[in-house]
């Protein structure tokens, strides 16, 4: 039998229902000193490269091409060291009815209504799929309400969280209209061999969310979810450059942003082109499980 370390044992014991998590005063004391005076760990902000000058990043998602396979969801989870205790990961994918039923256009998210679900297990060609993640809003309510300044907006358009400043008050979570933020309810564990060294590990009690893959995009790469999408539904780019693919897409295609009435100025645009005819349909990865606070 594999030797269990203490943490795993505690987890298993509590999962079995018979366990009772005992406090660990020494650990708490140690932690308290660390919180007040800082620890020797490399600060999270040092993981983030400097903002790219002159750039204004954003993303375009073509709903006509999204098949709802959830590949982005799982790839993002791996890329960003998201532990299993966080569910759903940064991306939620919704299945919804055809908006008008006439043209096959997905008119607007306001049309998300009857039959919309996050827990579909089979893909259907007559349905629409809609991934939602942090929109990196220009008027981000989460940044506005954060008491510590842990959530901040960088000049290149990214909304980031400094995990060494966040006090876990969760005001940002109540203020985000898109449900994009996740809280570390438990100590996050990602085994060493699976960990991405470019992304800082979080601790329990802090908030995290999509970073637009800051460790990649500021080094000139695309985000992981863009890379992994089998039908290239996602496009990432610089909106300050009029020749970039994203700028052109926004100029030429019909598009909308989520909950535009709230004036949050999201940096993710959704295209409402008709459904792409020649698409590869993959089997979907499983829906998110064990979501806290959601009846399953």
């Amino acid at each position: 039998m594999k030797k269990l370390d203490r943490r795993e044992f505690i987890k298993l014991a509590s999962a079995a229902g018979g366990g009772f998590l005992m406090p660990d005063p020494l650990k708490v004391l140690n932690d308290a000193v660390g919180q007040l005076l800082g620890t020797k760990k490399k600060p999270a902000s040092e993981y983030y490269p400097e903002p790219v000058t002159g750039a204004r990043f954003g993303m375009v998602i073509d709903l006509g091409k999204c098949i709802g396979c959830r590949r982005c969801m799982y790839a993002c989870k791996r890329e960003n060291n998201v532990p299993d205790t966080i569910s759903p990961p940064y991306i939620m994918v919704f299945e919804t009815e055809s908006a008008t039923g006439v043209t096959g256009h997905f008119a607007s998210p306001e049309m998300m209504g009857k039959g919309t679900t996050m827990f579909y297990t089979k893909l259907r060609k007559d349905k629409w799929y809609m991934p939602v993640q942090c929109n990196h809003c220009d008027n981000a309510p989460c940044v506005q309400v954060c008491p510590t300044g842990a959530s901040y907006k960088d000049p290149d358009g990214l909304v980031l969280i400094d995990y060494d400043k966040c006090i876990g008050c969760r005001y940002c979570m109540t203020a985000c209209p898109y449900g994009a933020r996740r809280f570390n309810w438990w100590e996050p564990h990602v085994s060493r061999d699976r960990r991405n060294p470019l992304v800082p590990m979080r601790r329990h009690g802090v908030v995290e969310k999509c970073t637009f893959c800051v460790h990649r995009t500021r080094r000139g790469k695309f985000t992981r979810c863009v890379e992994v999408c089998p039908n290239k539904a996602r496009t990432f780019g610089n909106f300050n450059d009029p020749d970039s693919k994203v700028s052109k897409l926004i100029e030429s295609e019909r598009n909308f942003r989520l909950k535009e009435g709230l004036n949050t100025e999201p940096r993710i645009w959704y295209l409402t082109k008709p459904k792409e005819k020649r698409m590869r349909w993959y089997r979907p990865l499983p829906p998110p499980k064990n979501i806290r606070g959601v009846k399953s």
Partner: protein
């Protein structure tokens, strides 16, 4: 401690047991993460924030009594004057502790607002204002005690008076209205995002706070077996309370009326949850307020026993309102298709909340014994406190006569 019988120590022991239990559970949270609470990514704020809102609300009672004494010259309120200030101070303290246990990284939270701050955050503005409120109330307490013990100079008397008056706009405008705005400004949540919320919060705060002062006065009279306040004063208090309860009901009604009539999508979902799955809390809130108002309209309801009943009901009703406001306000899903959201506080979460409530009661019980709570002028009555129980009982009638 003077006048502390055996039952007092038993009471303290029970409170300590609650505090110990809550502290133990808080240590568990700190060791393993806040996952031991019932909150979730979809309902990030639970009963701790309700507790914050409730305690901040109750602290308003202190200021209203101060206003009645100092600005309106109701000197018959003086026996509860210092008690109300102490109560307000401890409630603010309790509220900050509720914030502390809610934080995911609490000790880092102590760096707010000096080291970590973002001035656009209403959480920062309101929680910093609590420190200011604590300072004002501590000053008021200090000078009022000086006045009560007869050691005050003219300047001290003026300080007590003016701090008491300044506390009112500071509390209502800055502390309470901004605490209400914490929720009011969140445009993501239809149930919160209304300009009425700061007003609503202030009014319900006054109702619960004033009710708490009355409750404390009545309980003190019962425990110490004497009349702290005259029947006339109690009657007057009951009338003021009835007015604020009525105002709270009025605001409740129009809040829900507008919400229901405009029938926005998310607000309707919230309304259905409020009056569906969470109907009992809603009924306790509105039913409790109506019931207490009914009690208060009768002259009999404005005597000690009637007030005891009515004010207890109001506390329960306002706690229910805070839970509705905070937790049920978040239950409408931000997108359809997220599934049915729920929030059930866990036992350990509740134990921490009870522990904090016990802590506030304990501090009040001890401090109100240690500190002089009333003017020491009519000597015979207070000398009697130092006497043995039998002697007090024997001579009770005579002492009461002297007092009146």
């Amino acid at each position: 401690m003077k006048n502390a019988g055996k039952s007092f120590y038993i009471f303290i022991a029970i409170l300590l047991a609650f505090i110990g239990w809550g502290g133990f559970n808080w240590l568990r949270f700190l060791s393993h993460g806040p996952g031991l609470t019932g909150s979730s990514d979809v309902v990030p704020w639970g009963i701790y924030i309700s507790g914050l809102a409730y305690f901040i609300g109750v602290s308003a009672g202190a200021t209203i009594v101060g206003l009645l004494i100092h600005a309106f010259g109701r000197h018959d309120y003086e026996p509860v004057g210092i008690r109300a200030i102490l109560l307000g101070l401890l409630c603010i303290f309790g509220a900050t502790q509720f914030v502390l246990v809610d934080l995911g990284v609490p000790f880092r939270g102590l760096k707010v607002p000096i080291i970590l701050h973002n001035l656009t955050s209403l959480f920062l503005i309101s929680s910093s204002s609590y420190y200011g409120f604590m300072a004002i109330l501590s000053g008021e307490l200090y000078f009022s005690i000086k006045v009560a013990t007869g050691k005050a100079s003219e300047r001290d008397k003026k300080m007590a008076k003016w701090l008491g008056i300044i506390a009112v706009p500071y509390a209502l405008w800055i502390v309470h209205a901004f605490t209400g705005s914490i929720f009011g400004v969140v445009k993501a949540r239809e149930m919160w995002n209304t300009p009425m919320l700061p007003v609503h919060f202030v009014i319900s705060a006054i109702a619960s706070g004033f009710a708490m002062v009355i409750l404390v006065a009545v309980i003190t009279s019962k425990v110490e077996k004497r009349d702290l306040l005259s029947n006339e004063t109690l009657n007057h208090m009951g009338k003021i309370l009835a007015f604020f309860v009525l105002l709270t009901l009025f605001l409740d009604f129009f809040d829900y009326f507008i919400l229901r009539y405009s029938a926005k999508k998310e607000a309707m979902e919230g309304w259905h949850i409020l009056t569906g799955r969470y109907l009992p809390i809603f009924l306790i809130n509105e039913g409790g307020l109506i019931l207490s108002l009914l009690i208060l309209t009768f002259k009999k309801g404005r005597t000690a026993n009637g007030l005891l009943l009515a004010t207890s009901i109001i506390q329960v009703a306002i706690i229910a309102y805070r839970i509705d406001l905070v937790s049920v306000g978040q239950l409408a899903p931000l997108f359809p298709g997220m599934g049915e959201l729920y929030y059930h506080p866990t036992l350990s979460e509740i134990s921490v909340a009870l522990g904090l409530i016990a802590l506030v009661i304990l501090l009040y019980a001890v401090l109100s014994k240690v500190l002089p709570m009333e003017e020491t002028a009519p000597e015979p009555v207070y000398a009697s406190r130092g006497l043995g129980k039998t002697l007090w009982k024997k001579n009770k009638k005579r002492y009461m006569e002297v007092r009146n």
